[in-house]
Symmetry: C2
Subunit: 248 residues, 2 copies
Amino acid sequence: MSIQMNQSLSVDCAVFGFNGKSLKVLLIERRYYAPDTRLDKLKLPGAMILDNETLPQAAYRVLEEATGLRDVYLKQMDIFSDPNRVSGEELEWINRYHGIRTERVVTVGYYALVKLDTRTVAYTTAKGAQWVDVDSIQRLAMDHKQILSAALAVLCREMLQSPVAFELLPRKFTIRALQNLYSAVLGIEIDNRNFRKKILASGFLTPTAEREQGVAHKPAQYYTFNKNAYKKALKAKLKLGFINNWRY
Amino acid sequence: MSIQMNQSLSVDCAVFGFNGKSLKVLLIERRYYAPDTRLDKLKLPGAMILDNETLPQAAYRVLEEATGLRDVYLKQMDIFSDPNRVSGEELEWINRYHGIRTERVVTVGYYALVKLDTRTVAYTTAKGAQWVDVDSIQRLAMDHKQILSAALAVLCREMLQSPVAFELLPRKFTIRALQNLYSAVLGIEIDNRNFRKKILASGFLTPTAEREQGVAHKPAQYYTFNKNAYKKALKAKLKLGFINNWRY
DNA sequence: ACAAAAGTGTTCCTCTTACACCCATGA
DNA sequence: TCATGGGTGTAAGAGGAACACTTTTGT
Protein backbone atom coordinates (compact mmCIF):
# COMPACT_ATOMS: atom_id res chain seq x y z
CA MET A 1 0.00 0.00 0.00
CA SER A 2 1.68 3.17 -1.12
CA ILE A 3 0.86 6.66 -2.12
CA GLN A 4 -0.94 6.59 -5.43
CA MET A 5 1.32 7.92 -8.15
CA ASN A 6 0.44 6.05 -11.30
CA GLN A 7 -3.17 6.95 -11.36
CA SER A 8 -4.91 9.15 -13.82
CA LEU A 9 -7.44 11.84 -13.26
CA SER A 10 -10.22 12.42 -15.74
CA VAL A 11 -13.35 14.47 -16.19
CA ASP A 12 -16.68 13.27 -17.56
CA CYS A 13 -19.44 15.62 -18.57
CA ALA A 14 -23.18 15.07 -18.54
CA VAL A 15 -24.31 17.62 -21.12
CA PHE A 16 -28.02 18.35 -20.91
CA GLY A 17 -30.29 19.89 -23.50
CA PHE A 18 -34.04 20.51 -23.73
CA ASN A 19 -36.02 20.21 -26.94
CA GLY A 20 -39.27 21.65 -25.64
CA LYS A 21 -40.63 18.25 -24.67
CA SER A 22 -38.05 16.23 -22.80
CA LEU A 23 -34.62 16.42 -21.26
CA LYS A 24 -31.78 15.06 -23.39
CA VAL A 25 -28.21 14.16 -22.62
CA LEU A 26 -25.32 14.05 -25.06
CA LEU A 27 -23.81 10.59 -25.57
CA ILE A 28 -20.94 9.53 -27.77
CA GLU A 29 -20.00 6.16 -29.16
CA ARG A 30 -16.58 5.19 -28.01
CA ARG A 31 -13.97 4.59 -30.62
CA TYR A 32 -11.63 1.59 -30.66
CA TYR A 33 -14.71 -0.39 -29.90
CA ALA A 34 -14.43 -3.99 -31.01
CA PRO A 35 -17.94 -5.13 -31.98
CA ASP A 36 -17.46 -8.54 -30.41
CA THR A 37 -16.89 -7.35 -26.86
CA ARG A 38 -19.88 -6.95 -24.65
CA LEU A 39 -18.92 -3.53 -23.45
CA ASP A 40 -21.54 -0.85 -23.75
CA LYS A 41 -20.87 1.50 -26.62
CA LEU A 42 -22.40 4.72 -25.42
CA LYS A 43 -20.63 6.95 -22.93
CA LEU A 44 -20.52 10.49 -21.65
CA PRO A 45 -17.92 12.76 -23.23
CA GLY A 46 -14.80 12.90 -21.10
CA ALA A 47 -11.02 13.23 -21.12
CA MET A 48 -7.89 12.75 -19.09
CA ILE A 49 -6.43 15.79 -17.34
CA LEU A 50 -3.39 17.24 -19.02
CA ASP A 51 -0.23 18.39 -17.25
CA ASN A 52 -0.93 22.03 -17.14
CA GLU A 53 -4.66 22.39 -16.80
CA THR A 54 -7.13 22.63 -13.96
CA LEU A 55 -10.14 20.37 -13.80
CA PRO A 56 -12.55 23.08 -14.97
CA GLN A 57 -10.26 23.78 -17.90
CA ALA A 58 -10.30 20.11 -18.83
CA ALA A 59 -14.08 20.04 -18.58
CA TYR A 60 -14.42 23.09 -20.83
CA ARG A 61 -12.05 21.47 -23.29
CA VAL A 62 -14.20 18.33 -23.42
CA LEU A 63 -17.31 20.38 -23.78
CA GLU A 64 -15.99 22.48 -26.61
CA GLU A 65 -14.82 19.44 -28.47
CA ALA A 66 -18.15 17.69 -28.04
CA THR A 67 -20.46 20.61 -28.80
CA GLY A 68 -18.42 23.33 -30.46
CA LEU A 69 -19.60 25.67 -27.73
CA ARG A 70 -17.76 27.97 -25.39
CA ASP A 71 -19.42 30.00 -22.64
CA VAL A 72 -21.55 27.16 -21.50
CA TYR A 73 -22.98 26.58 -18.05
CA LEU A 74 -20.69 24.01 -16.48
CA LYS A 75 -20.44 22.84 -12.91
CA GLN A 76 -18.57 20.23 -10.98
CA MET A 77 -20.82 17.85 -9.13
CA ASP A 78 -19.09 14.79 -7.69
CA ILE A 79 -15.99 12.64 -7.68
CA PHE A 80 -15.95 8.97 -8.49
CA SER A 81 -12.98 7.45 -6.78
CA ASP A 82 -13.71 3.77 -6.23
CA PRO A 83 -10.41 2.04 -7.06
CA ASN A 84 -12.40 -0.50 -9.09
CA ARG A 85 -14.78 1.84 -10.86
CA VAL A 86 -13.03 0.91 -14.08
CA SER A 87 -11.29 -2.43 -14.21
CA GLY A 88 -10.88 -5.48 -16.38
CA GLU A 89 -11.91 -4.94 -19.99
CA GLU A 90 -12.95 -1.37 -19.31
CA LEU A 91 -9.57 -0.45 -17.90
CA GLU A 92 -7.88 -2.13 -20.85
CA TRP A 93 -9.98 -0.08 -23.19
CA ILE A 94 -8.91 3.15 -21.46
CA ASN A 95 -5.23 2.25 -21.57
CA ARG A 96 -5.44 1.23 -25.21
CA TYR A 97 -7.46 4.26 -26.22
CA HIS A 98 -5.23 6.80 -24.50
CA GLY A 99 -1.98 4.95 -25.06
CA ILE A 100 -1.19 4.97 -21.38
CA ARG A 101 -0.82 2.41 -18.65
CA THR A 102 -2.68 3.25 -15.52
CA GLU A 103 -4.16 1.05 -12.86
CA ARG A 104 -6.79 3.38 -11.65
CA VAL A 105 -8.76 6.32 -12.91
CA VAL A 106 -10.42 8.76 -10.59
CA THR A 107 -12.95 10.84 -12.46
CA VAL A 108 -14.60 14.13 -11.65
CA GLY A 109 -18.17 14.47 -12.88
CA TYR A 110 -19.34 17.74 -14.41
CA TYR A 111 -22.72 18.66 -15.69
CA ALA A 112 -23.37 21.18 -18.42
CA LEU A 113 -26.48 22.91 -19.71
CA VAL A 114 -26.69 23.93 -23.35
CA LYS A 115 -29.26 25.53 -25.62
CA LEU A 116 -30.28 22.93 -28.19
CA ASP A 117 -30.35 25.12 -31.27
CA THR A 118 -30.06 23.78 -34.81
CA ARG A 119 -26.40 24.72 -35.10
CA THR A 120 -25.44 22.76 -32.00
CA VAL A 121 -27.50 19.74 -33.01
CA ALA A 122 -25.89 19.83 -36.46
CA TYR A 123 -22.42 20.00 -34.92
CA THR A 124 -22.95 17.12 -32.56
CA THR A 125 -24.62 14.82 -35.06
CA ALA A 126 -21.84 15.54 -37.54
CA LYS A 127 -19.49 14.22 -34.85
CA GLY A 128 -21.55 11.07 -34.44
CA ALA A 129 -22.86 12.06 -31.04
CA GLN A 130 -26.48 11.64 -30.05
CA TRP A 131 -28.95 13.53 -27.89
CA VAL A 132 -30.75 10.83 -25.97
CA ASP A 133 -33.86 11.10 -23.81
CA VAL A 134 -32.61 10.79 -20.24
CA ASP A 135 -35.58 8.65 -19.23
CA SER A 136 -34.80 6.05 -21.87
CA ILE A 137 -31.22 5.34 -20.83
CA GLN A 138 -30.73 1.94 -19.25
CA ARG A 139 -27.02 1.27 -19.49
CA LEU A 140 -23.87 3.17 -20.35
CA ALA A 141 -20.19 2.37 -20.59
CA MET A 142 -18.20 1.96 -17.37
CA ASP A 143 -19.96 3.67 -14.46
CA HIS A 144 -21.34 6.44 -16.62
CA LYS A 145 -24.93 5.55 -15.82
CA GLN A 146 -24.13 6.28 -12.20
CA ILE A 147 -22.45 9.55 -13.12
CA LEU A 148 -25.50 10.51 -15.16
CA SER A 149 -27.82 9.75 -12.26
CA ALA A 150 -25.74 11.90 -9.95
CA ALA A 151 -25.84 14.72 -12.49
CA LEU A 152 -29.61 14.48 -12.78
CA ALA A 153 -30.02 14.67 -9.04
CA VAL A 154 -27.84 17.76 -8.91
CA LEU A 155 -29.73 19.32 -11.81
CA CYS A 156 -33.05 18.87 -9.99
CA ARG A 157 -31.67 20.47 -6.87
CA GLU A 158 -30.17 23.38 -8.77
CA MET A 159 -33.32 24.03 -10.77
CA LEU A 160 -35.23 24.55 -7.54
CA GLN A 161 -32.71 26.96 -6.14
CA SER A 162 -31.30 29.02 -8.93
CA PRO A 163 -32.35 30.09 -12.38
CA VAL A 164 -30.33 27.51 -14.27
CA ALA A 165 -33.41 26.58 -16.30
CA PHE A 166 -32.73 29.50 -18.62
CA GLU A 167 -29.46 27.91 -19.68
CA LEU A 168 -31.51 25.19 -21.36
CA LEU A 169 -33.89 27.52 -23.19
CA PRO A 170 -33.30 29.73 -26.21
CA ARG A 171 -32.74 33.41 -25.53
CA LYS A 172 -36.39 34.10 -26.30
CA PHE A 173 -38.89 31.67 -24.89
CA THR A 174 -42.52 31.43 -23.81
CA ILE A 175 -43.59 31.02 -20.23
CA ARG A 176 -45.15 27.71 -21.23
CA ALA A 177 -41.78 26.46 -22.44
CA LEU A 178 -40.25 27.37 -19.09
CA GLN A 179 -43.05 25.61 -17.26
CA ASN A 180 -42.71 22.51 -19.44
CA LEU A 181 -39.02 22.42 -18.68
CA TYR A 182 -39.59 22.45 -14.94
CA SER A 183 -42.31 19.89 -15.34
CA ALA A 184 -40.14 17.58 -17.42
CA VAL A 185 -37.01 17.75 -15.32
CA LEU A 186 -38.72 17.50 -11.96
CA GLY A 187 -41.41 15.09 -13.13
CA ILE A 188 -44.26 17.03 -11.57
CA GLU A 189 -47.35 18.89 -12.71
CA ILE A 190 -47.39 22.64 -12.20
CA ASP A 191 -50.45 24.87 -12.07
CA ASN A 192 -50.15 27.27 -14.95
CA ARG A 193 -51.81 30.23 -13.23
CA ASN A 194 -49.67 30.04 -10.11
CA PHE A 195 -46.51 29.45 -12.08
CA ARG A 196 -47.14 32.45 -14.27
CA LYS A 197 -47.96 34.65 -11.32
CA LYS A 198 -44.85 33.61 -9.44
CA ILE A 199 -42.42 33.87 -12.31
CA LEU A 200 -43.75 37.23 -13.48
CA ALA A 201 -43.80 38.61 -9.94
CA SER A 202 -40.12 37.76 -9.62
CA GLY A 203 -39.34 40.40 -12.22
CA PHE A 204 -36.75 38.20 -13.89
CA LEU A 205 -38.60 37.95 -17.19
CA THR A 206 -38.59 40.78 -19.69
CA PRO A 207 -41.31 40.62 -22.35
CA THR A 208 -40.11 41.08 -25.92
CA ALA A 209 -42.01 42.62 -28.80
CA GLU A 210 -42.41 39.21 -30.41
CA ARG A 211 -45.07 36.55 -30.27
CA GLU A 212 -45.37 33.08 -31.66
CA GLN A 213 -46.23 32.90 -35.34
CA GLY A 214 -48.17 30.40 -37.41
CA VAL A 215 -49.59 28.47 -34.50
CA ALA A 216 -53.18 27.27 -34.54
CA HIS A 217 -54.07 28.99 -31.30
CA LYS A 218 -53.58 32.25 -29.47
CA PRO A 219 -49.90 33.08 -30.03
CA ALA A 220 -47.74 33.21 -26.93
CA GLN A 221 -45.59 36.11 -25.81
CA TYR A 222 -41.81 35.69 -25.93
CA TYR A 223 -39.73 36.65 -22.91
CA THR A 224 -36.04 36.92 -22.12
CA PHE A 225 -34.31 36.25 -18.81
CA ASN A 226 -33.20 39.42 -17.05
CA LYS A 227 -29.91 38.44 -15.46
CA ASN A 228 -29.34 41.84 -13.90
CA ALA A 229 -32.64 41.77 -12.07
CA TYR A 230 -31.67 38.39 -10.68
CA LYS A 231 -28.29 39.58 -9.48
CA LYS A 232 -29.82 42.60 -7.80
CA ALA A 233 -32.35 40.40 -6.04
CA LEU A 234 -29.55 38.15 -4.82
CA LYS A 235 -27.66 41.05 -3.30
CA ALA A 236 -30.77 42.38 -1.61
CA LYS A 237 -31.44 38.94 -0.20
CA LEU A 238 -28.00 38.80 1.40
CA LYS A 239 -28.79 41.77 3.58
CA LEU A 240 -31.99 40.29 4.92
CA GLY A 241 -32.59 37.29 7.10
CA PHE A 242 -31.15 34.15 5.70
CA ILE A 243 -32.98 32.13 8.21
CA ASN A 244 -36.13 32.63 6.16
CA ASN A 245 -35.09 29.95 3.78
CA TRP A 246 -35.32 27.07 6.18
CA ARG A 247 -37.00 23.96 4.97
CA TYR A 248 -37.24 20.70 6.81
CA MET B 1 1.67 18.51 -22.81
CA SER B 2 0.75 14.97 -21.90
CA ILE B 3 -1.70 13.07 -19.84
CA GLN B 4 -0.97 13.68 -16.20
CA MET B 5 0.54 10.56 -14.67
CA ASN B 6 2.97 11.72 -12.01
CA GLN B 7 0.55 13.73 -10.01
CA SER B 8 -0.74 12.97 -6.59
CA LEU B 9 -4.19 13.20 -5.22
CA SER B 10 -4.81 14.26 -1.65
CA VAL B 11 -7.60 15.10 0.73
CA ASP B 12 -7.72 17.97 3.19
CA CYS B 13 -10.31 18.22 5.93
CA ALA B 14 -11.76 21.29 7.57
CA VAL B 15 -12.93 19.86 10.89
CA PHE B 16 -15.40 22.13 12.65
CA GLY B 17 -16.42 22.16 16.29
CA PHE B 18 -18.59 24.43 18.43
CA ASN B 19 -17.81 25.32 22.02
CA GLY B 20 -21.10 27.03 22.80
CA LYS B 21 -19.77 30.43 21.86
CA SER B 22 -17.93 30.32 18.57
CA LEU B 23 -17.09 28.08 15.67
CA LYS B 24 -13.69 26.40 15.78
CA VAL B 25 -11.63 24.57 13.22
CA LEU B 26 -8.95 21.98 13.88
CA LEU B 27 -5.45 23.00 12.78
CA ILE B 28 -2.21 21.09 13.01
CA GLU B 29 1.37 22.27 12.94
CA ARG B 30 3.22 20.69 10.12
CA ARG B 31 6.18 18.54 10.95
CA TYR B 32 9.52 18.80 9.11
CA TYR B 33 9.04 22.48 9.50
CA ALA B 34 12.33 24.35 9.45
CA PRO B 35 11.89 27.39 11.70
CA ASP B 36 13.86 29.62 9.38
CA THR B 37 11.58 29.27 6.36
CA ARG B 38 8.78 31.70 6.02
CA LEU B 39 6.18 29.07 5.33
CA ASP B 40 3.09 29.18 7.49
CA LYS B 41 3.09 26.51 10.13
CA LEU B 42 -0.58 25.80 10.60
CA LYS B 43 -2.50 23.66 8.16
CA LEU B 44 -5.65 21.58 7.85
CA PRO B 45 -5.24 17.87 8.47
CA GLY B 46 -4.83 15.99 5.20
CA ALA B 47 -3.22 13.05 3.48
CA MET B 48 -2.29 11.56 0.15
CA ILE B 49 -4.62 8.95 -1.32
CA LEU B 50 -3.39 5.40 -1.02
CA ASP B 51 -3.51 2.81 -3.77
CA ASN B 52 -6.56 0.99 -2.67
CA GLU B 53 -8.81 3.52 -1.09
CA THR B 54 -11.56 5.83 -2.25
CA LEU B 55 -11.48 9.50 -1.47
CA PRO B 56 -14.06 9.24 1.31
CA GLN B 57 -12.05 6.44 2.86
CA ALA B 58 -8.95 8.61 2.81
CA ALA B 59 -10.88 11.46 4.39
CA TYR B 60 -12.17 9.21 7.17
CA ARG B 61 -8.64 7.97 7.74
CA VAL B 62 -7.36 11.52 8.14
CA LEU B 63 -10.21 12.37 10.42
CA GLU B 64 -9.73 9.39 12.67
CA GLU B 65 -6.05 10.08 12.97
CA ALA B 66 -6.63 13.73 13.80
CA THR B 67 -9.52 13.32 16.24
CA GLY B 68 -9.70 9.67 17.27
CA LEU B 69 -13.30 9.68 16.10
CA ARG B 70 -15.18 7.41 13.73
CA ASP B 71 -18.80 7.94 12.70
CA VAL B 72 -18.32 11.59 12.10
CA TYR B 73 -20.26 13.81 9.74
CA LEU B 74 -18.02 14.18 6.71
CA LYS B 75 -18.74 15.58 3.30
CA GLN B 76 -16.86 16.36 0.17
CA MET B 77 -17.13 19.96 -0.91
CA ASP B 78 -14.76 21.03 -3.65
CA ILE B 79 -11.67 20.18 -5.63
CA PHE B 80 -8.58 22.35 -5.82
CA SER B 81 -6.84 21.56 -9.05
CA ASP B 82 -4.79 24.58 -10.04
CA PRO B 83 -1.52 23.12 -11.34
CA ASN B 84 0.34 25.70 -9.26
CA ARG B 85 -1.69 25.53 -6.08
CA VAL B 86 1.38 24.09 -4.39
CA SER B 87 4.74 24.94 -5.90
CA GLY B 88 8.20 26.11 -4.95
CA GLU B 89 9.01 25.66 -1.29
CA GLU B 90 5.58 24.28 -0.53
CA LEU B 91 5.91 21.56 -3.15
CA GLU B 92 9.37 20.72 -1.85
CA TRP B 93 7.95 20.36 1.62
CA ILE B 94 5.32 17.92 0.38
CA ASN B 95 7.83 15.81 -1.48
CA ARG B 96 10.20 15.75 1.46
CA TYR B 97 7.49 15.04 3.97
CA HIS B 98 5.92 12.19 2.03
CA GLY B 99 9.12 10.89 0.52
CA ILE B 100 7.74 11.17 -2.98
CA ARG B 101 8.50 13.19 -6.05
CA THR B 102 5.46 14.74 -7.60
CA GLU B 103 5.07 17.86 -9.65
CA ARG B 104 1.50 18.55 -8.87
CA VAL B 105 -1.01 17.79 -6.17
CA VAL B 106 -4.72 17.96 -6.75
CA THR B 107 -6.58 18.02 -3.47
CA VAL B 108 -10.16 17.28 -2.59
CA GLY B 109 -11.58 19.35 0.22
CA TYR B 110 -13.80 17.74 2.85
CA TYR B 111 -15.51 19.30 5.78
CA ALA B 112 -16.37 17.49 8.97
CA LEU B 113 -18.52 18.34 11.97
CA VAL B 114 -17.63 16.97 15.39
CA LYS B 115 -18.97 17.28 18.91
CA LEU B 116 -16.36 19.11 20.96
CA ASP B 117 -16.52 17.00 24.11
CA THR B 118 -13.70 16.85 26.66
CA ARG B 119 -12.43 13.52 25.37
CA THR B 120 -12.03 14.81 21.83
CA VAL B 121 -10.36 18.01 22.96
CA ALA B 122 -7.99 16.00 25.13
CA TYR B 123 -7.13 13.72 22.22
CA THR B 124 -6.42 16.52 19.79
CA THR B 125 -4.40 18.65 22.18
CA ALA B 126 -2.34 15.58 23.11
CA LYS B 127 -1.51 15.37 19.43
CA GLY B 128 -0.45 18.97 19.34
CA ALA B 129 -3.43 20.09 17.30
CA GLN B 130 -5.41 23.23 18.08
CA TRP B 131 -9.01 24.29 17.90
CA VAL B 132 -8.88 27.79 16.49
CA ASP B 133 -11.64 30.37 16.23
CA VAL B 134 -12.49 30.51 12.52
CA ASP B 135 -12.90 34.27 12.59
CA SER B 136 -9.38 34.78 13.86
CA ILE B 137 -7.59 32.89 11.11
CA GLN B 138 -5.62 35.10 8.73
CA ARG B 139 -3.19 32.78 7.00
CA LEU B 140 -2.60 29.06 6.66
CA ALA B 141 -0.08 26.85 4.90
CA MET B 142 -0.35 26.43 1.13
CA ASP B 143 -3.85 27.28 -0.11
CA HIS B 144 -5.50 26.00 3.05
CA LYS B 145 -7.02 29.36 3.88
CA GLN B 146 -8.88 29.14 0.61
CA ILE B 147 -10.00 25.60 1.34
CA LEU B 148 -11.22 26.71 4.76
CA SER B 149 -13.20 29.57 3.23
CA ALA B 150 -14.84 27.20 0.79
CA ALA B 151 -15.72 24.85 3.64
CA LEU B 152 -17.26 27.67 5.63
CA ALA B 153 -19.40 28.72 2.71
CA VAL B 154 -20.64 25.17 2.27
CA LEU B 155 -21.32 24.85 5.98
CA CYS B 156 -23.49 27.97 5.93
CA ARG B 157 -25.46 26.66 2.99
CA GLU B 158 -25.93 23.24 4.57
CA MET B 159 -27.00 24.63 7.90
CA LEU B 160 -29.86 26.44 6.22
CA GLN B 161 -31.03 23.38 4.38
CA SER B 162 -30.52 20.36 6.54
CA PRO B 163 -30.17 19.61 10.22
CA VAL B 164 -26.38 19.38 10.27
CA ALA B 165 -26.26 21.75 13.24
CA PHE B 166 -26.93 18.82 15.56
CA GLU B 167 -23.64 17.25 14.52
CA LEU B 168 -21.90 20.11 16.29
CA LEU B 169 -23.89 19.90 19.51
CA PRO B 170 -23.75 17.32 22.31
CA ARG B 171 -26.48 14.69 22.29
CA LYS B 172 -28.42 16.71 24.86
CA PHE B 173 -28.59 20.42 24.29
CA THR B 174 -30.71 23.46 25.07
CA ILE B 175 -32.66 25.34 22.45
CA ARG B 176 -30.57 28.38 23.28
CA ALA B 177 -27.40 26.48 22.42
CA LEU B 178 -28.90 25.55 19.05
CA GLN B 179 -29.89 29.14 18.43
CA ASN B 180 -26.45 30.42 19.41
CA LEU B 181 -24.90 27.97 16.98
CA TYR B 182 -26.98 29.23 14.08
CA SER B 183 -26.30 32.79 15.13
CA ALA B 184 -22.55 32.24 15.33
CA VAL B 185 -22.12 30.33 12.09
CA LEU B 186 -24.41 32.51 10.01
CA GLY B 187 -23.44 35.73 11.73
CA ILE B 188 -27.00 36.91 12.24
CA GLU B 189 -29.35 37.68 15.09
CA ILE B 190 -32.32 35.40 15.56
CA ASP B 191 -35.53 36.19 17.42
CA ASN B 192 -35.73 33.73 20.28
CA ARG B 193 -39.51 33.37 20.31
CA ASN B 194 -39.81 32.71 16.60
CA PHE B 195 -36.87 30.36 16.60
CA ARG B 196 -38.31 28.34 19.43
CA LYS B 197 -41.74 28.18 17.83
CA LYS B 198 -40.31 27.06 14.53
CA ILE B 199 -37.93 24.48 15.84
CA LEU B 200 -40.47 22.98 18.23
CA ALA B 201 -43.18 22.93 15.57
CA SER B 202 -40.90 20.88 13.36
CA GLY B 203 -41.17 18.02 15.80
CA PHE B 204 -37.50 17.17 15.47
CA LEU B 205 -36.67 17.91 19.08
CA THR B 206 -37.52 15.50 21.86
CA PRO B 207 -37.48 16.96 25.37
CA THR B 208 -35.52 14.94 27.92
CA ALA B 209 -36.21 14.65 31.62
CA GLU B 210 -33.17 16.76 32.38
CA ARG B 211 -32.63 20.43 32.95
CA GLU B 212 -29.60 22.59 33.48
CA GLN B 213 -28.16 22.46 36.97
CA GLY B 214 -26.33 25.00 39.07
CA VAL B 215 -27.03 27.97 36.85
CA ALA B 216 -27.96 31.32 38.34
CA HIS B 217 -31.20 31.59 36.43
CA LYS B 218 -34.17 29.50 35.41
CA PRO B 219 -32.63 26.21 34.29
CA ALA B 220 -33.10 25.32 30.63
CA GLN B 221 -34.68 22.15 29.32
CA TYR B 222 -32.45 19.68 27.50
CA TYR B 223 -33.56 18.25 24.18
CA THR B 224 -32.29 15.59 21.79
CA PHE B 225 -32.51 15.56 18.01
CA ASN B 226 -35.11 13.10 16.73
CA LYS B 227 -33.54 11.70 13.57
CA ASN B 228 -36.48 9.47 12.77
CA ALA B 229 -38.94 12.33 12.78
CA TYR B 230 -36.66 14.15 10.35
CA LYS B 231 -36.43 11.19 8.00
CA LYS B 232 -40.19 10.75 8.00
CA ALA B 233 -40.67 14.42 7.22
CA LEU B 234 -38.23 14.15 4.34
CA LYS B 235 -40.12 11.27 2.79
CA ALA B 236 -43.43 13.06 3.16
CA LYS B 237 -41.93 16.10 1.50
CA LEU B 238 -40.90 14.11 -1.55
CA LYS B 239 -44.50 13.33 -2.36
CA LEU B 240 -45.62 16.94 -2.23
CA GLY B 241 -44.79 19.89 -4.39
CA PHE B 242 -41.10 20.50 -4.65
CA ILE B 243 -41.77 23.74 -6.33
CA ASN B 244 -42.66 25.18 -2.93
CA ASN B 245 -39.06 25.66 -2.07
CA TRP B 246 -38.22 28.20 -4.69
CA ARG B 247 -36.12 31.08 -3.65
CA TYR B 248 -34.78 33.76 -5.92
C1' DA C 1 -67.54 26.57 -36.22
C1' DC C 2 -64.25 24.15 -34.00
C1' DA C 3 -59.93 22.68 -32.05
C1' DA C 4 -55.93 24.04 -29.37
C1' DA C 5 -53.18 26.30 -26.38
C1' DA C 6 -52.63 31.18 -24.15
C1' DG C 7 -53.80 33.88 -20.70
C1' DT C 8 -56.28 35.69 -16.54
C1' DG C 9 -58.46 36.53 -10.61
C1' DT C 10 -60.10 35.28 -6.30
C1' DT C 11 -60.50 33.00 -1.99
C1' DC C 12 -58.67 30.50 1.75
C1' DC C 13 -55.16 29.33 4.55
C1' DT C 14 -50.57 28.79 6.20
C1' DC C 15 -46.36 30.65 7.46
C1' DT C 16 -43.46 34.67 8.74
C1' DT C 17 -42.54 38.62 11.30
C1' DA C 18 -42.41 41.90 14.84
C1' DC C 19 -42.66 42.72 19.43
C1' DA C 20 -42.45 42.83 25.62
C1' DC C 21 -43.05 40.67 29.77
C1' DC C 22 -43.05 37.11 33.63
C1' DC C 23 -40.48 33.03 35.65
C1' DA C 24 -37.14 30.21 38.14
C1' DT C 25 -32.85 30.04 40.10
C1' DG C 26 -28.18 31.16 42.62
C1' DA C 27 -25.76 34.56 44.78
C1' DT D 1 -33.82 41.22 46.55
C1' DC D 2 -31.45 41.34 42.64
C1' DA D 3 -29.20 39.83 38.55
C1' DT D 4 -29.38 36.47 34.98
C1' DG D 5 -30.95 34.11 31.25
C1' DG D 6 -35.28 30.87 30.28
C1' DG D 7 -39.50 30.76 28.48
C1' DT D 8 -44.11 32.40 26.56
C1' DG D 9 -48.54 34.72 22.91
C1' DT D 10 -50.65 37.55 19.59
C1' DA D 11 -51.81 40.33 15.71
C1' DA D 12 -50.86 41.88 11.00
C1' DG D 13 -49.13 40.79 6.62
C1' DA D 14 -47.09 38.06 2.86
C1' DG D 15 -46.97 34.24 0.21
C1' DG D 16 -48.72 29.60 -1.34
C1' DA D 17 -52.45 26.44 -3.07
C1' DA D 18 -56.57 25.37 -5.25
C1' DC D 19 -59.65 26.21 -8.78
C1' DA D 20 -62.57 27.38 -14.33
C1' DC D 21 -63.38 30.20 -17.96
C1' DT D 22 -62.41 33.55 -21.91
C1' DT D 23 -59.30 34.79 -25.79
C1' DT D 24 -56.90 34.35 -30.05
C1' DT D 25 -55.47 32.06 -33.79
C1' DG D 26 -55.36 28.40 -37.92
C1' DT D 27 -57.97 25.16 -40.28
